[in-house]
Symmetry: C2
Subunit: 404 residues, 2 copies
């Protein structure tokens, strides 16, 4: 914004422009197609494509016999041997790692179920680093260079300028002010709130038209409730990176006390524990929360248990009230139910839509879409990995500079 623009930046921009055009196209494009679509001349596109091919980001396909007269075009596509992203996740009851290539395809994935609640943060970080090393080894075996890593954490993160960051607080992990280094071995490492990364994953997965820049809010119902806000196709992080704290929107100012100190937070109405409690399921079982709790809710709902159906309706209503606030403020055009809300969507969508219809001021002439997450529970790790390749695609020049 405040930096001067030289000829070099011009090339950087146009490299990204060409790469994005190829990446977001459903079918392989020719150089001429790209030129027509971007407004650059074919000559310029040629030199740009040469750079991108030399850097291993694009590859030429075998000349497809296309219809029509004239010299046949050589198709361009994202290179399957191009740089890939390493996604990592630390969550309450599991660790995960995943490798995606330039196209976003998952090439490798590991999940390890380990309870992190009583584990010191350094141990958890060491364990996830081990997982990362395993994943990296697989990538190396397939001759895939890794461009970087992103770590998803269920907490409030302050990112440092040079990568890494501080996890200010992660209530469900019991973390406070945990520093995450900027490097994972050789790799640059970014730390980010899990809901933000899941929203990024959803951004690519849920969008039928890759050219659009959608605005939506992704609600992540894990043990806590978080959200990732995507505005005009871009993740919104907030002034300090703490945006999207959805779980503590007030539903009833005089409602039940929340562990955050306030009263009537959304988590007390639509959190997993709250749903179980409202359905009359005793929480004495220590495995009541987490995946076991979710299973329980799902099974009871499927069996038609009236108490559970009522609890889910109440949760959906509360969720809808909070979402209406978000939509009124942000004017997004879609709401994505993610995390454990995704499998519960059949029971949540109706009450959520009802609240949105009455409480959103523009509801009369503009409907807000409510849909479950397209990626499901893997949204977070996959989103983390894709956030890395997203950066590569957005700034190809930076990657090319690292190559010989």
């Amino acid at each position: 914004m405040d930096s001067p623009v030289r000829q070099h930046s011009l090339r950087e921009h146009n490299l990204a422009l060409v790469l994005r055009r190829v990446a977001t196209s459903a079918r392989p494009l020719s150089r001429a197609d790209v030129a027509a679509a971007t407004g650059l001349t074919r000559a310029t596109v040629s030199t740009l494509v040469d750079d991108l091919v030399a850097g291993g980001l694009l590859c030429e396909l075998d000349p497809v016999p296309r219809a029509g007269v004239g010299r046949p075009a050589t198709g361009l596509a994202l290179s399957p041997r191009g740089p890939c992203g390493l996604g990592l996740e630390i969550n309450v009851d599991y660790l995960a790692a995943c490798v995606t290539d330039l196209s976003g395809t998952v090439r490798h994935q590991i999940i390890r179920h380990v309870d992190q609640r009583d584990r010191p943060a350094p141990d958890a970080l060491a364990a996830v680093a081990e997982l990362a090393a395993d994943a990296a080894q697989v990538a190396v075996a397939e001759h895939l260079p890794i461009a970087g890593a992103a770590l998803a954490v269920p907490g409030l993160v302050r990112q440092h300028g040079d990568g890494g960051g501080t996890v200010h607080v992660a209530p469900n992990l019991g973390w406070r002010d945990v520093d995450v280094p900027a490097k994972l071995g050789e790799l640059p490492l970014r730390v980010e709130n899990e809901a933000n990364l899941a929203a990024l994953g959803e951004l690519q997965a849920g969008e039928p038209d890759p050219e659009a820049s959608p605005s939506f809010i992704y609600v992540s119902g894990e043990i806590g409730i978080g959200s990732g806000i995507v505005l005009d196709g871009q993740l919104y992080r907030g002034a300090h990176g703490w945006g999207g704290e959805f779980g503590h929107l007030t539903i009833d100012a005089n409602g039940p006390r929340c562990h955050c100190g306030a009263r009537g937070c959304l988590e007390q109405y639509a959190g997993q524990d709250a749903i179980l409690r409202a359905a009359g399921v005793p929480l004495t079982d220590p495995a009541g929360a987490g995946p076991a709790g979710l299973d329980r809710i799902q099974r009871l709902a499927q069996s038609g248990d009236p108490a559970m159906l009522g609890a889910l309706r109440a949760a959906g209503t509360a969720l809808g009230i909070a979402l209406a606030a978000a939509v009124n403020l942000l004017d997004v055009d879609a709401v994505v139910l993610g995390g454990s809300f995704a499998p519960l969507a059949p029971w949540l969508v109706t009450p959520v839509e009802e609240e949105l219809a009455t409480r959103v001021i523009t509801a009369g002439w503009s409907r807000v879409a409510v849909r479950p997450s397209a990626l499901g529970p893997e949204a977070t790790v996959v989103g983390a990995a894709r956030s890395v390749i997203r950066d590569v695609l957005a700034h190809p020049a930076a990657w090319l500079a690292t190559q010989p």
Copy 2:
């Protein structure tokens, strides 16, 4: 975003860069200062400044005798004869116009108190056009060219691509689907929600450090309650331009019925009518709302009327609950009380801050500033005028192209 970058765009960017540097500096800068600050070479800055001076955007000051050895610098400043912006406002009980020059200084202002409620939209538009013509005449008399006009309306606006727009609904004016033309005589005309423009005005007026890119939410308490959201120094409009509908955030799902059809909207707790009602002031007086109503509230509060103090505290609490939701979602670092909330700030700030302290999840380590609007009731018109010069400063090349 999706457009190619040529050498020409490069120049456009750097022109804007230089101009912004001069505009946001407290003291006059020399070409050398600008070069050092931007990272461009002095040679480049010279040619850029030449263009800006020729186009009437910058002017050279008399060489100020500065300290130190070496050739004295010639100061650069925004030209007082440069293009200015025409701000217009249609509100419930008045029309306003205002002319600001490049530095944002108000050069001329007209307010005409006319009730617009029972007036057909075309009449109101014609009246404001008349006001605009008067203001333009004054500007012409002072040899000030006008770059464009912006019209503030208390309603939901869909902007058209080429200027102008449709006022989808303006409840307090009684407007529905009113088309506003893209031109006001010769001038390009933009239509925008009043709170958004007031937020833009506040952005320049309220920020001590002009280099910063603040994030705040401006709450406009006119007859209805609206808000303008500024994220990282940029106005956020939402996917369709309907962001910031603050007045209809839910305070109590089972609260009193709102004219929007929902229950328990903020307007029912912190709107002018609601405050008067809560204080036991009969609303039979047709002039109860509007400036008279505000006066009434203020006088009663100043005289220490216990009912009114209680009503204001309740309004502040409701406002605080809604603002906590906004801050949790958006992670802004300030809240500005504008419109009629500005004069009521002495009674509102405390309850608002209390709610923010308990309900904002990051309150423990990061305080949100709560302050009254710096511009007061003129924020909207002035913001509208400044939004025009804002565009000129951000895209000087477009203005230069219109000049001989």
